[in-house]
Symmetry: C2
Subunit: 404 residues, 2 copies
């Protein structure tokens, strides 16, 4: 498997594009993205667990009942959530898009991201749908990626190439993250394309397996958004023998998808609103996977710990505190904690008690922009990893006045 360029257009037979259609006031920011496969795809999604869901999610769920899709359309600048006519608008967007693409509306995945509770005007879609479709091309992944960004500062776009059944296969993806990112469900928007042939059932299975260990382990601010989803379209153009059961090919595909989703997850954490550091928390030797996950998420979510990381302060007591209020099982007297980055690794806590460390060494480690917290529970053999970011002045600034 190797990483390649091209994002969602890296797999065979996918076109993409992104334009400014007028949902956002700022004309220099794209606000509408489209991804289209040349042929019908098997498709699957995971959705936010927030009980308040964006209207597009209800429409997409309905459209994916048959496990088939040919296009993804997504706007930024407005979440189309908690609006009286939300589903009506989401359906109208699909109808417009279907007409321009000459496909069925039910074969379209629709998504929105942005402010909640402001009516979404259909007019920008009406005025620009034909132009959007005309601008589709086989190298348009970056434009599509820009079209779905909100407060993201960098594009999250990845692709890999690998072999299945002696055929060259690809997976590509774009994602947006930034605020309202918290474990449970896709917690952001991610669109994945692949030319691998895989059955509907196996596609649905693999994305749930992968999401649990990737997107569901990312937290920026503890807020689970109303609109987030991960959608995958598989068009089969790689001509491999269709993956219909959990065989070796399934495992290979899952590993490639895991790489893509891990990259996107880290990208989302690192580009969390206002973030200056990527925080990775590894929990090792837990009694159960659940304990490992709960501890990792609790640490990565602690505002006090996140602020300490921003301040390069090796305040490991806050790590212990966050472990302590998690619902996990462990033996406090066995906990070992290390803080590390590419320039070093120090033990700060052994047997649940403070372990003397050099403050200068700690400062050097914490001055890097990718920090690892390694927690050994010495209580079993399961492990988990969670990703997050530091809490900064800019997080407050960005979120203090998001709507204007």
């Amino acid at each position: 498997m190797k990483e390649i360029q091209g994002g969602v257009c890296a797999p065979k037979g996918f076109q993409a594009t992104g334009i400014h259609c007028g949902i956002r006031k700022n004309k220099s920011k794209k606000d509408l993205a489209l991804i289209v496969s040349d042929v019908m795809c098997h498709a699957a999604s995971t959705y936010t667990l927030n009980k308040v869901k964006g209207a597009p999610i209800y429409v997409t769920k309905q459209h994916l009942q048959d496990g088939l899709a040919k296009a993804i359309i997504c706007n930024s600048g407005n979440a189309n959530t908690c609006n009286v006519n939300g589903e009506e608008i989401a359906n109208a967007v699909c109808d417009l898009c279907a007409k321009s693409l000459n496909i069925k509306a039910e074969d379209i995945i629709v998504a929105s991201t942005g402010v909640i509770g402001q009516p979404l005007d259909i007019k920008p879609f009406q005025d620009h749908m034909d132009a959007l479709v005309e601008s589709l091309n086989y190298t348009g992944s970056s434009d599509a990626c820009e079209g779905i960004m909100t407060t993201d500062t960098v594009k999250k776009e990845y692709a890999v190439e690998f072999e299945l059944d002696n055929q060259v296969c690809h997976i590509g993806a774009i994602a947006k993250g930034s605020g309202m990112i918290h474990p449970n469900m896709a917690t952001m928007l991610a669109f994945v394309t692949t030319d691998v042939a895989i059955s509907k059932d196996m596609l649905d299975e693999v994305i749930h397996e992968v999401v649990n260990d990737t997107f569901n382990m990312v937290s920026v601010d503890g807020d689970t958004s109303t609109n987030d989803m991960l959608s995958v379209m598989a068009n089969g153009l790689a001509d491999n023998k269709e993956i219909c059961k959990k065989d070796e090919d399934y495992t290979t595909f899952k590993e490639a998808l895991m790489f893509i989703c891990t990259s996107l997850s880290k990208g989302i954490a690192k580009d969390g609103e206002g973030a200056t550091k990527l925080l990775t928390c590894h929990v090792n030797n837990a009694a159960t996977i659940k304990d490992a996950k709960v501890v990792a998420k609790s640490v990565i979510t602690s505002s006090l710990f996140k602020a300490a990381m921003f301040g390069k302060d090796a305040n490991w007591g806050r790590i212990l505190c966050a472990i302590g209020y998690s619902e996990a099982n462990y033996n406090l007297d066995q906990i070992e904690v290390h803080i590390a980055s590419q320039v070093g690794d120090i033990c700060v806590c052994l047997n649940g008690r403070g372990y003397p460390f050099d403050e200068d060494e700690a400062l050097k480690i914490l001055s890097e922009d990718e920090i690892e917290i390694i927690i050994d529970l010495h209580d079993g053999c399961e492990k988990a990893t969670a990703w997050g970011c530091d809490l900064t002045y800019d997080y407050v600034k960005i979120n203090g006045d998001y709507r204007t």
Copy 2:
């Protein structure tokens, strides 16, 4: 019932004091507090639910097994948590204090607050215990209050006078809060004194009832501290007939204690680290009290919502989002949300959908420093209130470098 001055020294027979003994480097900051009753008290405590607990909590739990206490000693500047010799030190502090006061160590409640995981030196206690005891006086509540403050910017000190059984009775209290404040358990340090005569059982019962609706409904940053506790000492010097069952006197006492604890809770929320606003979330007409509490806490805890309040941004979508990811039961289509302060009240959401409001009016309301969010679930007849604060630049600043 009327509010009076005097804090923990308002009830008959309580002396208090606070001094600088050298745990903190800054000599202008007091770091050791003592409260002593002239006679033996019935005493009860509630403790943090964090599984990582400060050493003083274990010692206090042991000392209160007989439900009796005569003194409370508390230092700030060091939490005495996750230290190898933590309990040893906490016991040594009690021994020194008992010797100077000429009482038994088992009759002392001990507490610490500050940095986790730094060894607590016994020397400052040895050097200053006699001076601390000598400085005890019947108007020393404010000094004691200063002695327990960490990043608190204002003293939280309250007292009330009321009648029971034709006797004038008092409850007084001091508290510290600021960071690591989150629902579940006393989530801070609060010391309450009263001259009311009340049985050990009833005292234990009443503090748990009151804490559930007060301190357990406060959140500053979602982090539940390792050291927090609420302790009450009742010395009976008011000469009322001892409260031994849940009668009218119990109710009167509970109401007075509720007033004190509500005042402390609001004080702690308003003085949350870096806070500029007190946020009060009322949830009305929930199906169950649990649903009401879960919704109120979820809203008050959302970083996105808290940052919006700092920015005076009526971004009610974040309120709906926080309701949505809570574990509560409700009917989305019935939710009504108002935002209010002393200058006005606007409806921002009706039937789970956006309700048009005047942005200028919203800005006027949100420019006040005490904001109310009123959520009507239209789903039953239970209600709850939670208190919190906005998320500001200063929270990040304070917590980015707490240890130095």
